[in-house]
Symmetry: C2
């Protein structure tokens, strides 16, 4: 193992451990191609995968269509902006107001964001006029819950879907009965771990720095599962976006594993714009 | 026009008028077959249609599967119980506690309800044990909103769908982020008026007492729309259930149109177990 990021899910509940070495059966690994930079490879298997699946699996979007999301500055949020842009989709990105909001706006726009709007601004009535150059979003991606998710629902087009993948506000999603009945809005959830179980039995991504040829895993999996391994396919799709410069790693700080406490502290600070990556 | 029921939607917002006579183009009408009793015919075009579509369109249920609903004593609720039983589905029916709860329970069980449970009972932890002879419901039908809908969500099977078609508690649907993400619950809405627009352009059901042969409308609609007219099909499916004794009209009181004020008053009383039908 060369490097591993600290994701919110590592802090909220223990899903695994950070470690320098481990023994795996070859067939449960996906090799990351050699030419993918270390920060991209280390942050590839959770956030960009979540972003890609949510953009593709819930609504059949066409180039020119629009997506709205909150927590747009998160690891998933940044991946959503970039992957959406690569797919020809436009994005409305909601973030919390902060001292350096102009700097953040600029950074997200450089990634391909069409609009960056604060939680306070999105609540204003005149926002509808401001956004009138965009089609109404048919997909909303919700990582916050509470009032923030209510605002996303308000801006969705009739028949649209809101996918919840996080609850950073620690408040439930509140949907008016009228929006469900008369606007036919759909509320769904997404959990990458479950998607992987459903689509790729017994497979783990290990950042091997390209030492393991990518084809090994494909062949052995083909024997075990009847269909294509869709997680493997997803990783390779994302690697192609990285190669074309359409998907970059989030801003990150590399911290040696022995300094994990420093990295943990940094990752729980408010308004963090930098992902902590433990190097082994 | 021979008879028309007072539905909650007639009181909450004016969608039409009650009248004894009207002029329609023949091709926008569906004739109700002669052998359907008047109370069934009068209450056919809204509540049973809503019940049938919600049972069939959202989850692919198999005989033996289970559905949970609130407001089980409403017109839609009673139709859900009967149509579900006819389809081989089992039902858990939540109702508000009331003085004559035993009488109501008996009546709903006679219609085919497997369990009748009060809002207070469904909240209790031991309810899970009580319901262990049933598979976890994969479909929930919500006419209430607020706390009642939160309970339905809690009892849904992983991957299940809750369809909201009313908001009698005048409170929004509240869904925990965890239920959406980790239990993959789906929240949807249903509105029969929209379904009719989408599936049967320019068609109205008129209770003609069978004077108009049912085939007339079918032929003229076939010329106008490319596919089958699904609303017409739905009405005929429900008429077959009525003929087989599997779908009866809700308990109802027939009131002459000139006494409409008495009927309106009766229909807004709490715990009404009788639908008011205006006879023309």
């Amino acid at each position: 193992m060369l490097a591993a990021p600290i994701n919110p899910s590592d802090i909220n509940m223990i899903q695994g451990t950070w470690r320098t070495e481990a023994v795996f059966s070859e067939e449960v690994l996906v090799g990351v191609p050699k030419d993918i930079p270390l920060p991209s490879a280390a942050t590839l298997s959770v956030n960009p995968c979540t972003a890609y699946r949510m953009l593709v699996d819930f609504e059949q979007l066409q180039p020119g269509d629009c997506v709205i999301q909150n927590a747009s500055n998160s690891g998933v949020g940044q991946a959503v902006i970039q992957i959406a842009a690569a797919l020809g989709l436009r994005t409305i990105n909601v973030v919390r107001d902060r001292p350096d909001i102009q700097k953040l706006t600029e950074r997200l726009k450089n990634l391909g964001a069409d609009h960056v709007i604060t939680e306070e601004e999105i609540r204003k009535h005149e926002m509808k006029n401001f956004l009138k150059d965009m089609p109404q979003p048919r997909l909303a991606l919700n990582c916050v819950g509470g009032k923030s998710s209510t605002e996303l629902l308000r801006h969705l087009a009739p028949g649209g879907t809101m996918v919840t993948y996080g609850g950073m506000a620690k408040q439930p999603v509140i949907a008016s009965v009228g929006l469900l009945i008369f606007k036919d809005l759909k509320l769904r959830g997404f959990w990458l771990s479950q998607w992987k179980k459903d689509h790729s039995p017994a497979l783990t991504v290990l950042n091997t720095g390209g030492e393991q040829p990518a084809s090994t895993a494909t062949l052995s999996m083909a024997k075990r599962s009847s269909g294509l391994n869709q997680f493997k396919e997803l990783i390779l799709t994302l690697c192609n976006l990285i190669r074309r410069g359409q998907l970059t790693a989030p801003a990150c700080s590399q911290v040696p594993l022995q300094d994990y406490q420093r990295a943990l502290e940094a990752s729980t600070q408010p308004f963090v714009s930098s992902k902590q990556i433990l190097t082994m």
